[in-house]
């Protein structure tokens, strides 16, 4: 199958408007004849479910948490971008588009990114109308800040809880539709398969996480808004339950998986403290506005934050300021992360593990006073103190990069449809807009763009061509999918080995971090592939999952998710091996400039790598969607 991205013809700035005009509409009276399943209640899922129900479609909404309000989007801290140009500092739709394309290291589609920038302004209007309490200035207008090294102030925020407030806004819209009976909600319900009939997605198979009951839901279209797969690394900033299961099982049913190796490693997280570590906590990027990052010039193993205070200036290496005088501590995430790894690999890392660098506020406190710093970062400093036990007003913070976001995901066309007809992917779950590196404050923007302003239009084009008939859930295809799901669960329960699910997950995470993390090379990737296969084999022979299916069973839930991670991990390795260039978050050691910076190879790798599942135990097939750039000139990123 040749991949058709369905990008509309015409000038960039007119594509979306023209497309909205050209696509088919479903008559208002007929919308209620169509059922739509939305899996996921994060920003993408909740906004989509609410908006589609408002239009008149019958929506069923699913999440694994006990309430839609707890989706992982809730944890986003820093903010959401939009091209409002309220501060009058030169922002525009084109600039937001350009920054996002460039930030993504030219590995995303121009048309998609332009549309994202275009609808960004509507998102802010919509959220404010819902009552989202964004930060304001004394004059009562919305406040903006510059975020993640952007040259303009285009980030809207609600204290350090922007994701929470945006999600609660979408959740309130969703709740309103639930009350109206237009959305039926299924919390604590996990989707375990998608059902395809005559080439079209017609429903899903789910497990009730309280009773264990396996059942089916039928619809005219299925939307996946199930988030990212960062937890394949075991340790990440993602919520504990974040998983790849929905996307992966759709992939095995025919949805192509795009750019799986594109993962974002965030530079400012609290370092790992020991083997017991279950997740990593992000310290907002905004800290780099005032904090200075350093390690000692000469290795000083075990150096603590308290001891650091007395290290004289001339023995410190502020390595980002030294290497990137123009951007200093504000270089993009991938550059900051890679440099932290480099200095730690040289043995100059600090703290008990040597896997940490200092983020020091002493100068900022001297310059601005403790009160100003408290005002700006008080909650982050408290959080740090709570977790680490150190007081960052007195000693430097210790930070280290951690897995944060996955740019890769299900391949979708301009309409957000996967390679399976009627199956859509929204939010972090798709691959669409961030290329090889996502800019800060743009994931929230993308999730809400997809849900509020893209899918409500594009789904109509598909449904308008569908008959109203519903497929009953006793249809053979549903039966068969349910049987497969049950068999997989029974298989997990039957193994009864001697290693816990978490032990396997940790083992996988370590391999991924060591070989498929911040720097990758051919030899390491080969080793990773072998090791992943070994772990996967061992998993199916030795995993210990207690209890039954017919009850709440957290280890069974987790086992299913880890089983999927073990397969996805191998595809990430294959993808990283295929892409022999460095770009964005994907750093191939073989492809660097003389100064050790990432080197893209545009004439060979300007494509989206879309992988097609070929069956159990077989190598996946690669299809390439060539990226065309008509409106931007490709340049090598430089932050010197």
């Amino acid at each position: 199958m040749a991949l058709d991205s369905k990008i509309p013809a015409g000038p960039l700035a007119e594509k979306w408007t023209k497309h909205k005009f050209n696509i088919k509409l479903v008559n208002p009276a007929n919308k209620r004849k169509y059922d739509v399943i939305v899996v996921g209640t994060g920003l993408a899922g909740a906004s989509a479910a609410a908006s589609l129900a408002e239009l008149g479609y019958n929506v069923k909404s699913f999440c694994y948490q006990d309430s839609p309000r707890r989706a992982h989007s809730i944890a986003a801290q820093g903010g959401i971008n939009a091209a409002k140009n309220y501060p009058n500092d030169g922002d525009s739709i084109f600039r937001l588009f350009y920054d996002t394309i460039k930030g993504g290291d030219y590995r995303s589609r121009e048309a998609n990114v332009y549309r994202l920038a275009e609808v960004s302004n509507n998102i802010i209007d919509q959220c404010v109308a819902q009552g989202v309490p964004f930060a304001r200035e004394y004059g009562g207008l919305l406040d903006n800040r510059s975020f993640g090294g952007a040259q303009v102030s285009r980030t809207f925020y609600a204290r350090g809880q922007t994701g929470q407030q945006l999600l609660l806004g979408a959740y309130s819209a969703l709740s309103r539709q639930i009350a109206k009976g237009k959305v039926e909600l299924f919390p604590r319900t996990e989707m375990l398969d998608v059902v395809i009939i005559e080439g079209k997605a017609r429903g899903i198979v789910v497990r009730d996480l309280v009773t264990g009951k396996i059942s089916s839901h039928s619809a005219h279209a299925v939307l996946l808004a199930t988030g990212g797969y960062g937890n394949v690394f075991y340790l990440s900033t993602n919520a504990m339950g974040a998983n790849a299961t929905a996307a992966w099982r759709a992939h095995k049913k025919g949805a192509y998986f795009a750019n799986p190796c594109f993962t974002q490693i965030h530079p400012t997280c609290i370092p790992v403290s020991g083997d017991h570590q279950s997740k990593l906590t992000l310290m907002s990027e905004s800290l780099r506005n005032d904090g200075r990052i350093w390690v000692p010039k000469k290795a000083m193993p075990g150096l603590t934050a308290k001891e650091a205070v007395s290290i004289p200036e001339e023995e410190r290496d502020y390595y980002l300021e030294r290497r990137y005088p123009a951007f200093g501590n504000l270089v993009p995430r991938d550059v900051a992360s890679r440099n932290a790894k480099m200095v730690c690999d040289e043995g100059r890392g600090v703290g008990a593990t040597g896997q940490a660098v200092f983020l020091d506020f002493a100068d900022a406190i001297k310059r601005l006073g403790e009160d100003v710093i408290r005002d700006k970062y008080g909650n982050l400093f408290d959080m740090y103190r709570q977790i680490q036990g150190d007081n960052p007003y007195e000693v430097p913070m210790m930070i280290y990069p951690a897995v944060h976001y996955t740019m890769g995901g299900l391949w979708v066309d301009y309409n957000l449809m996967t390679t399976i007809d009627g199956l859509y992917a929204l939010g972090e779950c798709n691959f669409s807009d961030h290329g090889a590196n996502r800019l800060g404050a743009s994931a929230l923007m993308q999730g809400l763009a997809d849900g509020y302003f893209v899918i409500p239009y594009t789904i109509g084009d598909y449904l308008a061509g569908m008959a109203y008939d519903k497929v009953p859930t006793d249809h053979e295809a549903f039966r068969q999918a349910e049987d497969e799901v049950k068999e997989k669960i029974n298989k997990l329960l039957r193994v009864n080995g001697d290693k816990t699910v978490d032990e396997f997950h940790k083992e996988l995470g370590k391999v991924m971090w060591d070989y498929v993390g911040m720097a990758r090379n051919e030899e390491g990737l080969k080793i990773a592939k072998e090791k992943i296969r070994e772990i996967r084999e061992s998993f199916w022979q030795n995993v210990k999952v207690l209890g039954d299916n017919e009850e709440m069973n957290l280890s069974l839930e987790k086992a299913g998710r880890v089983a999927d991670f073990l397969e996805l991990a191998e595809l990430m390795v294959d993808d990283a091996r295929d892409r022999k260039e460095s770009c964005g978050g994907h750093f191939r050691e073989e492809s660097q400039t003389e100064e050790g910076e990432a080197k893209r190879i545009d004439d060979q790798y300007s494509y989206v790598a879309a992988w097609k599942y070929q069956g159990e135990g077989r190598e996946e097939a690669l299809e390439k969607e060539t990226l065309e750039f008509e409106n931007v000139k490709l340049t090598q990123r430089s932050y010197k």
């Binding site: 309430s67 944890a75 304001r136 919305l142």
Partner: protein, 250 residues
Amino acid sequence: MNLTLHIWRQKNSTDKGGFKAYEVSNISPDMSFLEMIDVLNEELTHKGEDPVHFDHDCREGICGTCSMVINGRPHGPKQAITTCQLHMRSFNDGDDITIEPWRAKAFPVVKDLIVDRSAFDRIIQAGGYVSINTGGAPDANEIPIPKRIADEAMDAAACIGCGACVAACKNASAMLFTSAKISQLALLPQGNTERHSRVEKMIWQMEEEGFGACTNTGACEAECPKEISLVHIARVHREYMAAKVSSHNV
């Protein structure tokens, strides 16, 4: 450190349930409380015993999923944090720690430490929103909102819906949770049109779910991990009176 845990075990909603004691050893003070339970669960799994079921997700104090009563206090001994933000350095070697689920009629136990909080969702569904559809919103800066008002609305909106307020209250009242949302929307011009019907519907739903009456003891505020203030309850009392006088709803 070595600790003795007394944990509420209950197989499902119909099981009677009871406390069971577990010893855990070599606990590092750097571990979070939930990581300590992870250690216990790994041991139990190896021994072939059902691990302790508990709710958690973000593990950074924002999703509102974690919910344990630790030594009689929702989210444990420390002020203004959730269970997942509690670290073992707040305990001493040799401590006995009691761990229970939220206890409230409106929050039935699902399994062990997990309760059903869907009543909270239904309170929001009763009116915790501004009735606007997607699209057609005016420019975001068209309605200026004084910073003081926006900040106060944000204070209320910071609620994470964990339910600690209910667990802390001797009447198991959901007044702090319900008022936080009503107060946020009452403060903002966007919420003004529906303010009377909203307060009536949400309070009605709260009572319908079986939460107790608010007698202003303030235990909810003291245990709230986000320090949501009683001021919001006071505002809701005023909103409710005003609504009763002026509307014909409910």
